[in-house]
């Protein structure tokens, strides 16, 4: 029977190696190093249509990731989507900043883009972003295009 001390050592080493592998995977392979560890403040915004926006999608301003989407819920009084956003504490935005839902690439994943406003006061935790632009829904775009084409046609006919 193996010496108890040495056996404990090897098992401990094994578990330690495993833990090391987990940490490596979490930090270097996964996306944990971005966001969850730094301080953040929460801001919310309402949208008519969030399209394909998912929790944990990035929030970018000038192309830089400045936060992550938290929860997405539905307000059944105003019938709008309420998106809660975790903003990186290092970056402060004016109170009148606007939030748009944009798509990365042509058909990529959707994210929120923040355009800074000009207000002197800054957004604090719990504040709401007032100016929002919903996601562009492809079907609406197409029907809009068809409708405007039809209207054009009618004008020409007149």
């Amino acid at each position: 029977m193996q010496n108890n001390k040495s056996l404990d050592f090897w098992v401990g080493l094994f578990v330690l190696l495993g833990a090391g592998a987990f940490v490596f995977l979490a930090l270097r392979v996964g996306n944990m190093s971005s966001m969850s560890l730094s301080d953040s403040y929460t801001v919310s915004a309402k949208f008519d249509n969030i399209g394909g926006l998912k929790p944990r999608a990035p929030i970018k301003s000038a192309g830089v990731v400045v936060g992550r989407i938290g929860d997405i819920t539905f307000d059944d009084h105003t019938f709008q989507a309420i998106v809660s956003m975790q903003m990186d504490a290092r970056y402060k935005f004016p109170k009148d900043s606007s939030a748009k839902i944009l798509t990365s690439g042509l058909l990529g994943e959707q994210y929120i883009g923040i355009e800074a406003g000009g207000d002197v006061n800054l957004l604090a935790s719990g504040d709401k972003i007032k100016m929002t632009q919903s996601a562009i829904v492809l079907e609406n775009l197409i029907s809009q295009f068809l409708f405007s084409k039809a209207a054009e046609g009618k004008d020409d006919a007149k």
Binding site: F14, V15, L17, G18, L25, V29, N31, S34
Partner: protein, 259 residues
């Protein structure tokens, strides 16, 4: 003639159901016996050593080589569409989601599974289990449950090690050998691999595989005929059953997890 065929079919289904029932009952008995083991952790740690540490070499080396191959093959295909910079993402996702848990489980079944089956089968053949029973010690608690829990603990650790080695192997071939840009290798990977969705689900898979593969190995040993042929047949059955079970579970879990 048809009547006989059908009644034989019914008979085999009944036999199969009885065997399944016995297996489930044994599983429950092992789990219950395992609950009392927290008072005797040394039994479990000894087994973790035999199951986990002794599998380290094969897992680490295999992981490394799988990473190498993934990088080679991945580069070849991605290059056609000009997306070589996504190589890191390809390697990491394949490993974390599928190859890590599945290949580790298959290697585990082959190395640790067969050794478990043979050990328990030989103990049964040498009447050691009966002797233990006669000494008023429950062999399920003393022999089977520690090995089961050890397998359950060791498997996710081995899978994580496999995946980590694979990513490292992919890095070695992709960046060092082929020359893909190091920065985009890691950043694309980190951008695309989600901690919970990909890595977390992979770990869940490996725990489920560990449950299945370890139980099958232990059960086959426990039920083996106490003769040399019986034990050898049991070890073969362990490898075949575990492998099939792992692959089938992988299909089910993938369908459930990755929509």
């Amino acid at each position: 003639m048809i009547y006989r065929l059908i009644s034989q079919l019914g008979q085999s289904v009944r036999n199969w159901l009885e065997e399944l029932g016995l297996a489930i009952r044994t599983l429950i008995a092992i789990l219950l016996a395992g609950l009392g083991l927290w008072r005797r952790p040394r039994l479990v740690t000894t087994q973790i050593h035999f199951i986990g540490n002794y599998s380290l070499v094969i897992i680490l080396v295999s992981g490394l080589f799988v990473g190498f191959v993934l990088a080679y093959q991945g580069y070849y295909t991605l290059n056609r569409y000009g997306s070589e910079s996504a190589l890191g993402l390809l390697v990491a996702l394949s490993l974390a989601r599928e190859l890590g848990p599945v290949v580790t489980a298959l290697l585990f079944a082959g190395r640790a599974g067969t050794s478990l089956t043979a050990e328990i089968g030989l103990m049964k053949a040498g009447e050691q289990l009966a002797a233990m029973e006669m000494m008023a010690v429950n062999p399920l608690q003393r022999v089977l449950a520690p090995r089961f829990i050890a397998g359950l603990i060791a498997m996710p650790i081995l899978a994580a090690l496999f995946t980590a080695m694979g990513v490292f192997g992919g890095y070695l071939v992709g960046v060092q050998l082929i020359g893909v840009d190091e920065g985009s290798f890691w950043s694309q990977m980190q951008g695309g691999v989600d901690l919970w969705e990909d890595i977390g689900n992979g770990i869940i898979k490996s725990i489920v595989f560990g449950f299945a593969a370890t139980f099958i190995a232990i059960y086959q040993g426990y039920q083996a005929q106490p003769t040399p042929e019986g034990v050898s047949r049991a070890t073969t059955r362990t490898v075949v059953l575990s492998s099939l079970m792992v692959l089938w579970l992988d299909f089910v879990l993938t369908a459930l997890m990755f929509k």
